[in-house]
Symmetry: C2
Subunit: 118 residues, 2 copies
């Protein structure tokens, strides 16, 4: 899977609301890639654990126990979310910390939300 | 793929915001299934065409040309979205019409949106 840019999605062409006008081919490809990264139960649980953490970030060392999976498996899932521009990865000494990319989930929410029809 | 209930998602346990507290296992499974149905470029284009249509619905007969795919392929993609509770299907004579399930995309948007942290 190629790495998507980690910029907030709000600045990108995928982010016109899906229901406002027909989505362009390239925007559909980009949006599908991000949704696919999210569309996995373990990744949703990891993302939710990180986002709900008191300081908004978690070490991979603290994520293996809640999802009952090995560190390589957890690290693989986290890499998918980093590559999709949804999580940031920060190595500090022997530990790797993950946090939400500010705005990434909100931008996806904006794409999916249906504005009131006039 | 089993059929998910077509009720508005707002009434279902998947819909607490993902970032508020760690998502439960069953909610993660259900949310992942819906996101997976969306995570395909052609399905996003079909959904967007239907949602952006003047009366909010489209006949499968009018969807093949915009996506340049055969009717069986288009019908397959539409079935995935119906099974995920995202589209409704209404057969009228020889034609089949599809429309958004009211609230379905908004509920997904609500799950993904990040409320301001206190």
């Amino acid at each position: 899977m190629s790495t998507l840019p980690s910029l907030p999605l709000a600045a990108e062409p995928c982010c016109a609301p899906l229901v406002h006008e027909p989505i362009a081919d390239d925007a559909a490809l980009q949006l599908a890639a991000r949704l696919k990264a999210l569309a996995e139960p373990t990744r949703l649980r990891l993302l939710s654990l990180i986002a709900a953490a008191p300081d908004g970030e978690m070490c991979v060392c603290d994520l293996t126990e809640p999802v009952q999976l090995s560190q390589p498996t957890v690290s693989h899932h986290l890499k998918v979310l980093v590559d999709a521009g949804i999580l940031t990865r920060d190595k500090r000494g022997v530990n790797v910390h993950y946090a939400l990319v500010p705005g990434a989930l909100d931008s996806l929410a904006t794409v999916l939300a249906t504005p009131a029809r006039g």
